[in-house]
């Protein structure tokens, strides 16, 4: 790390003529391509990309590969695994893991952890449920906002305690885990003493977040708009880089990327467009609302991390907190804001979870689900040591966890096996991460 242990100390430098840098297409963390000359062809880009993958520097590929293997195994064992009904079910299951993983990534990037997010999120979701329930009957928008604000405030307060008093996040948020579990039980039982520890979601909009579907036509329209936006943004960004005298990937490559995303989107909407009704004579079709919601959160938080000062500072603090401080960054403010956004996102995750189950429950296992959130992030490629990771990691990792969960359910394997297999996947992900990191540092 420091200059002293570096083997290249006495290196003599080449003549003064700087090498062209390559087109890393956006913020510093999206470095999909290695150094290439400015006029590199598509072929050269592809070769460089394969080299990268082989040297273990591509975080995404092992996860996607692993996911495909898992899917094939389950499909061989149970032919209904890849049915429209089950795939949509899988998406619904994965949503809470994905969103909680994103919540956790805000703090994991700092090199910290928040163990309380499961229960603090559940408290926010319970607040929402209570506010939307008689006698209060708040409109769903306000109920959801209040729920999000509740957990954001909890995150803010815990962040303040951690940062101001310089306490270890692990311990403070462990205390938070216990405290908010107690608070969750208290608030639900207090509010609704005769309901056996649960409050039903009494608002169809909130219930439909996971259980309701967009019409198929609406799905296609949303997809078309999203793809056009994505394509325009990608192409104009490259064009602007070129206009500014910088290098950008060839147009064909950018278009290929957009096409790849388009194929995925079309497959998604098409599968969700198949009638998956269990009873004959009825129709159930369309994308569950939660899918575009999750994608919107991924995009929003990715932009925040990659394109704003705050995001840059999260990575900087995770990489070297003292360097960040010396660069004049208000480390305290960034950390507290990260905990606050983690809280906000965690509330969204548990709102999704409660929407799926139909109510807020005292027996929500916030201790377990928060660890699934961490696991989703880590399986996707986010480092526990800070400074490395992306929001999309939670999406991939959350899908892996949900796939295992779902497939095990189809195989009628009980919880004991689910836990053990999930554990092995998590372990494998950490090993892949460590090995690729070793390859990188020796490169």
């Amino acid at each position: 790390m420091t200059t002293t242990d570096n083997p290249h100390l006495g290196e003599v430098v080449a003549p003064p003529e700087i090498e062209e840098e390559t087109a890393a297409d956006q913020a510093p963390l999206d470095r999909d391509l290695m150094a290439l000359p400015p006029d590199a062809s598509v072929n050269e880009y592809i070769t460089a990309w394969f080299k990268r993958v082989r040297s273990g520097q591509s975080g995404v590929l092992p996860v996607v590969g692993g996911l495909i293997v898992i899917i094939i195994v389950f499909q061989i064992e149970r032919s209904q695994f890849l049915s429209a009904l089950n795939l949509v079910n899988l998406l619904q299951q994965s949503a809470a893991f994905i969103v909680l993983g994103m919540a956790e990534i805000f703090v994991l990037l700092l090199g910290e952890i928040d163990l309380s997010l499961g229960y603090s999120g559940a408290v926010g979701a319970a607040v929402m449920t209570i506010l939307a329930y008689p006698p209060i009957n708040l409109p769903w928008e306000f109920a959801i906002l209040a729920g999000l604000a509740t957990t954001a405030t909890i995150g803010f307060a815990q962040g303040q305690i951690i940062s101001r008093l310089r306490l270890p996040p692990f311990v403070v948020t462990l205390a938070g885990l216990l405290f908010w579990e107690g608070f969750l039980i208290w608030v639900i039982n207090n509010q609704s003493p005769s309901n056996g520890g649960s409050i039903r979601i009494n608002n169809t909009v909130i219930y439909d977040i996971v259980n309701g579907n967009m019409s198929v036509t609406a799905g296609w329209i949303v997809l078309a708009v999203a793809l056009v936006l994505f394509g325009v943004v990608s192409v104009t960004r490259d064009r602007r880089r070129r206009a500014g005298g910088l290098v950008a990937p060839p147009l064909a490559l950018t278009l290929a990327k957009v096409a790849f995303v388009a194929v995925g989107g079309i497959a998604l909407v098409a599968i969700c467009g198949i009638n998956r009704a269990v009873f004959t004579g009825t129709t159930v079709r369309g994308i569950p609302w939660v899918v575009p919601i999750v994608i919107a959160i991924v995009v929003m938080w990715t932009v925040l991390l990659n394109r704003t000062r705050f995001g840059r500072y999260i990575y900087a603090i995770g990489g070297n907190r003292e360097a960040a401080r010396r660069a004049g960054i208000n480390v305290h403010r960034v950390r507290v804001l990260a905990y606050t956004l983690a809280g906000l996102t965690a509330a969204a995750a548990i709102i999704i979870l409660d929407s799926r189950t139909g109510g807020a429950n005292t027996d929500t296992d916030g201790g377990q689900i928060v660890l699934y959130g961490v696991a989703a992030a880590v399986i996707g490629g986010t480092s526990l040591l800070g400074g490395r990771g992306k929001m999309i990691d939670a999406l991939l990792g959350g899908l892996v966890i949900a796939t295992i969960y779902n497939g095990m359910g189809l195989l009628s394997l009980s919880a004991d096996f689910q836990y053990m297999i999930t554990a092995l996947v998590l372990l494998a992900a950490v090993i892949v991460d460590a090995v690729s990191r070793r390859g990188q540092s020796s490169a």
Binding site: L9, V13, E21, T22, G244, T308, Y315, R326, A327
Partner: protein
């Protein structure tokens, strides 16, 4: 300060000056050989700076004047307090006692941000880079270009490339590669580039050439002189006395947290500098006499 105004042999006029009004500083060039031209104004003045770390006294009543357009070399043994002193100037540590004057005005430097706003840029001994961020992001950390609330990478990348080219940093593969993948010398070049990129009025470099190869070292030494020639005040810390005497206009020597000697570089030679660094003073009368004679 320790100087006895009458003892011109081991101490220079720095001691005298610290007692006189700051405004008189430039009218009192004294016997400065290289630093005496009229345009040499005091940018930064430290008076009675002390810093304790628990029981350790890292700095003890340090007085120092840093003129614009001059290279001030800060030298001293390991643990003398050099890095601590520049961290006080850079806002990393707040001094326990003492005053800081910037262009003659009393200022407080409580945070690195305040130092940056004054116009202080620093290359730290431990470089202070974020290994996970790329070269551009490190060079612009805390100084990002923003448009419409978003990071504007294009001007940052162009400026970073331009600065690195001017420093003849040519061995990096891509300025978008993470700093963690760079060699020690390349990392040091990035840290130096970051400090000289902006329009700082005072550039501080703590061991800027420790990890550099021969040609790169020459490049940084040349850059230091170019900065000073451009009117910037430069403070350089180095254990390499060859480098020190190659670029310094003024020398300040710290010993166990006290500034024991300072003055024009021409007042010192390697031998006297080493002796003051290690013992805190010049021992023999002959030495002092020889030095006084040399200056006369």
């Amino acid at each position: 300060m320790m100087a006895d105004p009458t003892d011109a042999a081991s101490e220079t006029q720095e001691g005298n000056v610290s007692r006189s009004a700051l405004a008189d500083r430039e009218t009192n060039p004294g016997s400065e050989a290289r630093g005496g031209t009229p345009d040499s104004q005091t940018l930064l003045s430290l008076r009675g700076i002390s810093k304790h770390f628990g029981p350790v006294t890292a700095l003890d009543g340090v007085d120092l004047d840093v003129p614009s357009g001059r290279v001030t070399a800060l030298i001293g043994d390991n643990g003398a307090g050099k890095s601590t002193l520049i961290k006080v100037i850079a806002g990393i540590h707040e001094a326990d006692h003492g005053e800081i004057f910037w262009s003659g005005e009393r200022v407080q430097i409580r945070t690195p941000h305040e130092a940056t706003l004054l116009g202080v840029a620093t290359v730290y001994q431990d470089l202070a880079l974020c290994d996970n961020l790329d070269i551009v992001a490190n060079m612009f950390l805390g100084l990002e270009t923003i448009s419409h609330g978003m990071l504007d990478e294009t001007p940052m990348e162009l400026k970073a490339r331009e600065t690195l080219t001017s420093l003849s940093v040519t061995s990096v593969r891509s300025i978008r590669q993470p700093v963690g993948s760079l060699s020690g010398g390349q990392r040091q070049s990035v840290a130096v580039a970051r400090a000289v990129m902006g329009d700082a009025k005072l550039v501080i470099m703590d061991e800027p050439t420790a990890a550099l190869g021969v040609s790169q070292t020459a490049m940084v030494l040349d850059l230091i002189q170019r900065l000073a020639a451009g009117g910037i005040a430069v403070i350089v810390i180095s254990h390499n006395l060859n480098d020190v005497f190659a670029v310094a206009d003024r020398v300040a020597i710290l010993h166990l947290g006290r500034l024991v000697s300072s003055g024009p570089a021409s007042d010192y030679d390697r031998q006297s500098a080493v002796e003051i660094m290690t013992t805190g003073a010049l021992s023999g009368r002959e030495n002092g006499a020889r030095e006084a004679a040399a200056r006369a």
